[in-house]
């Protein structure tokens, strides 16, 4: 909202002489931060941010009224003579409760000239004067007093006017030249020819005022905010009028607004008043809100006096009644946002200044809850992976359908995960897998020249169900490029599937499939629920361990190139365990040797067996015997001892 400082001071002389910075701080302290300050033809104009609940401050006088309450200062008296109402010159029928009040007048216009001061003010407001007195005056009044008014060319009206809901399919060309098809929710102004205006939103082209207009019918009404908001949204018509009616105008100002408009037309266009009347009546005043001292003091955090609260609310225009510790306040007709005791408390604190609220740390009343397993697991896995050299990524939850299809399970149809209003097709499906996003991120890094790419993400993936998409917290990993080669001890080599398997084993996800992608990338994905949960034990139960030496024996075997490692290792394990019992610790392959010097179709596997007893040092005879068992097991599967 644009506010000209000069015009604001006009409404509240007490502001005079205050610097711009000072004023901006004052407004921000009341809840109206200033987003920008600019100069228009030598006048300082503020861009003031107003929250959606405060339609009443959307004008110079409205803002001045709030500041006046803060400063305990007086607004300038409103310079308008109340016009004497008389007989209706034309029928005005209010058929819908969404328009309870319609103040109007008919005037004959003389020569029109919008005064220079009004033109300058409109320029400050960012609009140009049209040099049509009814239009310019209506605009000026809107910005100055916040009450939207409208003038119809009375000679273009057919018969009397009705405020009613539109009939489905009725058409109206609005002032912006667009033909609009109305529906039964639209509140409209109509005459015998049909709809002539969208109530509170925009006038119609057929009855607009132009240079040839001789007679005008004025409109200064009250329209239900909810109805106006819905119309503005439905027709995409967010006008100055709809902004104000949509947030709630002051019904008590309807007649005054008409009088101000008539007064300006008499002054600017030599207009002669032909008739002044009002259809309908103001709504009954709002109900009283009851504020208990305990509520106020609880919210304020200090023992505020109810008398002070009553005084502050009085300054805001509330009718206040204070009985002991109970305050009753009837909000003024312009404050549609005040409904519950908390609203009143907020007003008291706001006028006192939020900077006066004390600062107190609340005491802990009960036992805090622990962090959830899932949260701790997410943090643990992330830190583990980061210390293993992986970079945590954050990618968008939606992907394009083709990217999703590449990784979605067949029983997870994309339709159940598709948005009806995506930003674009590339953001249209909630992903079934993290891999598509990780793949793009990995490829981006490769294109940027990264020698090695190690990325992971923990985020939900989505599965379609008849009840809607359900989320699974998922870990995705991608690894590719060259390892090592950056120092004098570590040789460069491509990342291998075994590298990824090692990381997965470290995470407790041994069974996860490793995917190989073009570009040398390896990827894996696993539900976080499938990973080990964090233990609640601070320290696990003690298990006795042997203080006697471990004995190792190496067996260098020649095996076929297609020998299954799992089969061979488990056969050896079974036989050695049968012979050695619990002294047998483990057997594992510690080296693979492939060379043309070996017999064709064969490779060398170096196995290491470990033995340890709980109660004695093992003799080399018994260890040799168990090693022989291992060799025998290997031989039974076609392996032989390498020479």
């Amino acid at each position: 909202m644009r506010i000209e400082i000069k015009a604001l001071e006009c409404e509240l002389p007490a502001l005079g002489g205050r610097g711009t910075v000072d004023l901006c701080e004052l407004l921000a302290g009341l809840g109206f931060p200033v987003d920008a300050v600019e100069q228009v033809n030598g006048e300082t104009v503020l861009e003031v941010d107003v929250t959606a609940n405060r339609g009443d401050v959307m004008s110079h006088r409205g803002l001045a009224r709030d500041v006046a309450a803060k400063l305990s200062a007086e607004l300038s008296p409103l310079a308008v003579p109340a016009l004497d109402e008389g007989e209706a010159l034309l029928s005005v029928r209010l058929e819908d409760p969404a328009c309870p009040l319609y103040a109007t007048a008919i005037l004959e216009l003389g020569d029109q000239a919008t005064p220079a001061a009004a033109q300058a003010f409109l320029a400050s407001m960012g609009t140009n004067a049209k040099n049509l007195a009814p239009v310019d005056a209506s605009n000026e009044l809107l910005h100055r007093y916040g009450h939207p008014t409208h003038a119809f060319d009375a000679d273009k009206l057919r018969g009397g006017i009705v405020v009613r809901r539109a009939r489905a399919g009725e058409k109206l060309v609005t002032l912006d030249g667009v033909e609009r098809t109305l529906n039964v929710e639209d509140l409209c102004i109509a005459d015998d020819s049909g709809v002539i205006a969208l109530a509170g939103v925009m006038g119609g082209d057929s009855t607009k005022v132009d240079a040839g207009t001789r007679r005008v019918l004025l409109e200064s009404a009250y329209f239900e905010p909810r109805v106006v908001r819905a119309m503005a949204r439905r027709h995409g018509l967010h006008s100055d009028a709809s902004h104000r009616f949509g947030r709630g105008t002051n019904p008590a100002f309807a007649r005054t607004g008409r009088d101000l408009l008539a007064q300006r037309l008499m002054a600017w266009a030599g207009a002669r008043l032909k008739g002044v009347w009002t259809a309908g009546s103001e709504r009954p005043t709002a109900a009283a809100i009851v504020l208990q001292v305990a509520t106020l003091q609880r919210i304020a955090g200090e023992p505020l006096e109810m008398a002070e609260a009553a005084a502050l609310l009085g300054r805001l225009g509330c009718r206040v009644e204070l009985t002991g510790d109970v305050l009753k306040a009837v909000p003024p007709s312009w404050r549609h946002d005040l409904a519950i005791p908390e609203d009143l408390a907020e007003e008291v604190l706001r006028l006192r200044g939020y900077d006066r609220i004390p600062s107190v740390l609340p005491s802990l009343e009960g036992y805090p809850e622990p962090l959830s397993d899932a949260f701790i697991q997410g943090q643990d896995v992330s830190r583990r992976l980061a210390s293993l050299g992986f970079h945590q990524t954050v990618t968008l939850g939606f992907v394009r359908p083709e990217a999703d299809a590449a990784f979605a399970a067949p029983d997870n149809p994309a339709e159940g995960r598709t948005l009806v209003n995506p930003l674009g097709v590339e953001y249209s499906v909630m992903r079934a897998s993290l891999l598509a996003s990780l793949k793009s991120a990995a490829e981006l890094n490769q294109r940027q020249g990264a020698k090695e790419v190690r990325l992971f993400e923990i985020a939900p993936t989505y599965t379609s169900t008849p009840n809607g998409p359900i989320e699974t917290r998922t870990l995705g990993l991608v690894w590719g490029g060259t390892l090592g080669g950056e120092d004098f001890l570590t040789k460069a080599r491509p990342v291998q599937v075994a590298d990824m398997l090692g990381v997965l084993r470290e995470l407790g996800a041994d069974q996860v499939q490793v995917r190989e992608w073009p570009g040398g990338f390896l990827a894996a994905e696993v539900a976080m629920d499938a990973l080990p949960k964090p233990s609640h034990r601070v320290i696990p139960t003690f298990k006795p361990f042997s203080r006697f030496p471990t004995v190792e024996r190496d067996l260098s075997l020649l095996v076929d190139l297609d020998q299954s490692y799992r089969a061979l290792a488990s056969e050896m394990e079974a036989r050695v365990r049968a012979a050695a019992g619990s002294t047998f610790q483990d057997v594992r392959c510690v080296d693979v040797f492939r060379h043309k010097s070996l017999p064709e179709g064969r490779q060398g596997w170096l196995f290491r067996l470990r033995f340890q007893a709980m109660d004695r040092t093992l003799t080399s005879e018994e260890v040799d015997g168990w090693t022989a068992c291992a060799l025998e097991a290997a031989r039974s599967l076609g392996a032989e001892l390498r020479a």
Partner: protein, 357 residues
């Protein structure tokens, strides 16, 4: 010590000998030189011994003494040089198994947590000592939790399909546009225990979605951290005290907070909270646009309708809630010029901005 009995070529060779010994830089060369002078056959010494055999009797004594003196002189020089060279070889051998510590060492793999996650982890750490745990809710939400339970009116613009994403096959489901529905879920879940526990307090970090085009300051997905506390007699002073503590814990002792009145449907009273600019300390800089303050979060006392919706009696219980944009704070403290960098996942950015905590 020139002896006329010695042959002139030996005298010449002997004169050149010390230079030759010094010129030997390895043991092999020294051995070859040794052979040439004092070797068993064909050496200068051997030839001199031949000369001594055939010398006239009266010269033998003098000649013998001269030859011995020469041989001793040669052998001593050879032995001393051999010692030097052996010492040098020992030193080289030991060097071969040692490395200059200034050589670039192999570095352990270098990964990083994402800066947004680091910031959210940090916020959890800041609030943990105050007894806040973490509540997490789904991203796919109902209108009930995302709007109704938060006192957001039926015709609020946020509900429109131009602001919030909805699902094609499930018009009643949407992608949450803030972390506030976790308030509703958390309150509902904990409502039955509220008497026993004496209150509720938690933090809700998470991803949220809004229909904003991608640009340097907008993304259709971003992160928020929501905080909620419900207790007996909770007021604005408690909100201020809590945020004052949290901002100091996050930005340092100089981080004062400032409350300004504002409006959100799910709180009353509502406020915007500014923190004294953590970059300039309040003196005014580019980040705070010279004001000395930066807008950090929205907050307020939980609206009675929100408590009632979750089944908590607002005449007994009251509370406060706050919500902050993680990207906004991350961009502010890091002065990252473009929001998109956080979602691009370039390892150079992640290494620079990330860490293990």
């Amino acid at each position: 010590m020139e002896n006329p009995l010695l042959p002139s070529e030996v005298i010449e060779a002997s004169a050149a000998f010390p230079g030759q010994v010094a010129a030997c830089t390895d043991l092999d060369a020294l051995l070859r030189l040794k052979g040439a002078f004092v070797g068993r056959e064909g050496s200068h010494a051997a030839r001199l011994m031949e000369l001594l055999k055939t010398a006239p009797k009266e010269q033998k004594r003098d000649l013998g003494a001269a030859i011995n003196a020469l041989k001793n002189q040669w052998e001593e020089a050879l032995k001393s040089r051999q010692g030097e060279l052996e010492e040098a070889r020992k030193r080289r051998t030991s060097l071969a198994s040692a490395w200059d510590p200034d050589l670039p060492p192999p570095l352990p793999a270098h990964g990083a947590l994402h800066p947004l996650n680091r910031l959210m982890n940090r916020l959890v750490e800041v609030f943990r000592p105050l007894g806040y745990h973490v509540e997490e809710g789904p991203e796919v939400e109902t209108e009930g939790n995302n709007f109704d339970g938060l006192n957001i009116p039926e015709d609020h613009p946020a509900r429109s399909s131009s602001d919030t994403f909805y699902f094609a096959q499930h018009p009643e489901l949407l992608l949450r546009c803030h972390t506030s529905p976790v308030q509703v879920r958390g309150l509902k879940r904990l409502a039955p225990q509220i008497e026993a526990k004496g209150g509720i307090r938690f933090l809700a970090p998470g991803r949220v979605y809004r229909k904003d085009e991608v640009d340097p300051t907008h993304s259709p997905m971003f992160h928020q951290v929501e905080g909620l506390l419900v207790g007996r007699g909770i007021g604005m002073h408690h909100l201020k005290g809590t945020l004052a503590y949290a901002m100091k814990a996050l930005f340092g002792e100089g981080a004062d907070v400032r409350f300004r009145p504002s409006y959100f449907p799910f709180v009353e009273p509502g406020c915007e909270v500014d923190v004294r600019c953590p970059l300039c300390g309040g003196g005014g800089c580019r980040v705070c646009k010279g004001s000395g303050w930066v807008e950090l979060l929205g907050a307020g006392l939980v609206h009675p309708n929100v408590l009632a919706y979750a089944g908590i009696d607002p005449s007994v219980w009251s509370g406060f809630a706050f919500g902050m944009g993680v990207e906004r704070i991350a961009m502010m403290v890091s002065q990252t010029p473009d929001l998109r960098l956080f979602f691009e996942n370039d390892q150079r950015f992640l290494n620079e901005m990330g860490g293990l905590y």
